[in-house]
Amino acid sequence: MSAPVVHAHHAPQGFIRKYVFSLDHKVIGIQYYFLALFSVLIGMSLSLLMRFHMVHPDAKVAWFAHLWPTAAQGGIMTPELYLSLMTMHGTIMVFFVLTTAPQSGFGNYFLPIQIGAEDMAFPVLNMLSFWTTLVALVVMVSAFFVQGGAPLAGWTAYPPLSAVPQTGPGEGLGQTLWIVSIAIFCGASLMGAINFIATLIDLRCQGMSLMRLPLTCWTWFVTAILALLGFAVLLAAGVLLILDRSAGTSFFIPAGLMVSDQILNHKGGSPLLWQHLFWFFGHPEVYIAILPGMGVTSQLLATFSRKAVYGYRAMVYAILSIGFLGFMVWGHHMFMSGMSPYSAMAFSVLTMAIGVPSAIKTFNWIGTLWGGKIHFTTAMMFALGFVSLFVTGGLSGIFLGQPALDLYFHDTYFVVGHFHMIMGVAAIFGMFAGTFYWFPKMFGRMMNETLGKIHFYVTFVGVYAIFTPMHYLGIAGNPRRYSDFTNFDFLGKLLPVHNFMTQAAYGTAAIQILFFINLFWSMKYGKKAPMNPWNATTLEWTIPSPPPFDNFGGQHPVVNHGPYEYSVPGAPRDFIMQTDPPDAANPPATSH
């Protein structure tokens, strides 16, 4: 099987072509990465404002009044302002951080290289997908600046709250801009998904069979399939919601509603329809957010234990199962919604089923370490941290996947703790791990290990301190999306826990400065990186750091080995690269 020839292009000339409107998947990957970095700073700032308000709901902060003259009159954050910060926090983090960097950031950069290709299948579409994502981000952020401000219906935007502008401040133009931004983002995602799928299927080099793909490539592939099918449905839902808001339709709005003393004209719609459409997208979305991090973790645990991934085939089947089952569990977000109790039972069994491949992956990660020879680089620390956090975050899902237990836990902090552990922490650790691992290849320099380790340890303990207490709050019945806890006797008793979490959040946020210093300083002043600083086996480590514009310098790599041939008995080194000659494990004796 010889590789198809990608339409050869010459090295780009000029600043704009090289760094702005670039067709090069590597530049586009970095652009996505920086978009995610910018977004995570916004998202994190919003969460700090939220945590501050929860423990100081009546505080007067002068600059609040400057930023939000209507929503924070006298410097006091109103409940509607809190809810809009919360809505934008969730939206920006889920879409512009977790759905960009892991897939479109690292995936764009490394999928073509890891399969031995010159670029993605559709470079122009690739460039368009990034710029469309950026337009979506601009539209999203603009919601802060319009009359009424950003929407307050949460990142889940349930109608009628999101469908009827009179239901609250921010539900006017702000909510409309939110929907438009998401629709644009859907378009960008679909473009990216098509590119990833076509690239993986068509552009693998000679010898790169499916079962020799690095696990990172498998996760990027399945993630792209989830994105293709999921985002299409979200786009449809968004269109219907906009029509309900502005064209007088009633897809989601039933008859008999009265808002702000006005009886509404709508009739015939169902709020549950939105929930089904949204979560049909929303559940695959969370697997989109976590699968690439799982791929990175597998890759790094193998590299830094000098040991093959335990049960490669099982890992592939687990990724495929998670992707497939991921489309069948959306109803577990709707156990209390009023949908049929029989549906709830079906969704529950499927949800428990999806716990099985996740468990397989966890056991196999530990199995990879077992008997290994572990090098504790910062990249490896984040991969190990991912495993610990995934265990903690995943296990709380066992409670929530049972409708019987969800009768109490739905819409409490137990849920908030669960999804933050998995998405807000484990997935982010996957991004940190990918950064430390691939930075030498992307920028030709090494990051600072001391700064990296300090950042890791403080962040690891910090995120446990922030998010574990949320499970205890959930057991105590603390509802989510409350802007303050002073109206209920039982909530007043929980304020010390909120205080602790807020302090932990401040500290953990502050230590992220070390990461940014490390990242930017190392780009310019880090020690020069060799071609293969980690003695790793996959194709990106066979080309210069950073790579030339066409990755393999016009060569077509030929793959003779699986992706994780570490510590093969009899081999001269403790790793065999995928492109090493077929007899690398037993090289012919050379006479001296």
């Binding site: 509607e80 809810l83 219906a153 349930y158 009628p160 709250l161 239901t167 609250g168 709005i253 008999g256 719609g269 234990s305 000098r306 093959a308 335990y310 490669y312 099982a314 209390m336 009023g338 109790p341 709830a344 039972m345 529950s348 428990m352 089923a353 716990g355 099985v356 468990a359 397989i360 056991f363 199995g367 370490l369 077992w370 008997g371 290994g372 903690t392 296990l395 049972q402 409708p403 019987a404 237990l405 009768l407 109490y408 819409d411 409490t412 340890y457 446990y464 574990t468 207490p469 205890y472 709050l473 057991i475 105590a476 509802p479 409350y482 802007s483 303050d484 039982f490 510590s567 093969v568």
Partner: protein
């Protein structure tokens, strides 16, 4: 390498806070609540054991297999172990769902008790209102155009309907202890949610749907009702109470309300 003791310490601390029940459920006030707590404990024990062993094994691997000069072992996996832990996980997880199914069926899929006392709940931004049918046992007709919160008519009772004359409207939920209740829930505007921690029950209140919730509270007391589905800027203040009282006191309360009409 330092990571191993950190993981172990975190594991022990986390388990400690679950075991010590410092922040915990309030005591249950119903048979359903007792069954709920049993299923919760079953799940907590299973997940707790898995949590402990997984984190312990991770920490152990980090400690034991740190690079000290030896060569790594060469293994691509072990199908026997894969099968064992996959099956064990599947059996445990599905087992938990099955034991919990009884509880779910009891709440939502059982024959409703024909003697359940019907009480209507109407949720709106940002208050709960409750309605009792009064001595005639019939709920009066309602119409959205008759709604007048300021005049104490949140349900929009229609003047012309005599059945509605004796309806009791209350801002808080009052129920007799030990008697089955049928809470008939409506929303006037957006999605809300009725939640009583001590009952271990919650249910979304969806506009356009009439959703019944059957329960029986056995322990007298006053219990808070926090709205538990984001409904707008007043969500954090949307509060009511459920007062469970001896049956005799409940009858007395109803008579007092009727007399005040």
């Amino acid at each position: 390498m330092l990571l191993a003791p950190i993981v172990w310490v975190l594991t022990v601390v986390i388990i400690y806070f679950f075991a010590s029940k410092i922040w915990w459920f309030p005591p249950p006030i119903s048979q359903h609540g007792l069954a709920y707590d049993e299923q919760f404990m079953r799940t907590l024990v299973v997940t707790g054991i898995i949590f402990f062993f997984a984190q312990f094994a991770l920490g152990w691997a980090i400690f034991r297999y740190r690079d000290d000069g030896r060569r790594a072992s060469h293994s691509h996996g072990n199908n026997k172990w894969e099968t064992i832990w996959t099956s064990a996980t599947a059996i445990l997880f599905v087992g938990l769902v099955l034991t919990g199914t009884k509880i779910w069926v009891a709440v939502h899929l059982s024959e409703p008790d024909p003697n359940a006392i019907p009480i209507e709940l109407m949720a709106k931004q940002f208050a709960f209102s409750f309605r009792y049918p009064g001595p005639d046992g019939k709920f009066g007709a309602t119409d959205l155009t008759q709604v007048n919160d300021a005049a104490g008519n949140p349900f929009g009772l229609v003047d012309k309907d005599p059945a509605g004359k004796d309806d009791i409207v209350s801002a808080s939920l009052k129920v007799p202890a030990g008697k089955p209740i049928k809470l008939i829930m409506h929303s006037r505007d957006v999605i809300h949610n009725f939640f009583v921690r001590e009952l271990r029950l919650k249910q979304d209140i969806v506009p356009g749907m009439e959703i019944p919730l059957y329960f029986q509270a056995d322990t007298p007391g006053t219990y808070e009702i926090p709205c538990s589905e984001l409904c707008g800027l007043g969500h954090f203040q949307m509060r009511s109470t459920m007062q469970v009282m001896a049956e005799a006191d409940f009858e007395k309360w109803k008579q007092e309300q009727a007399a005040n009409k």
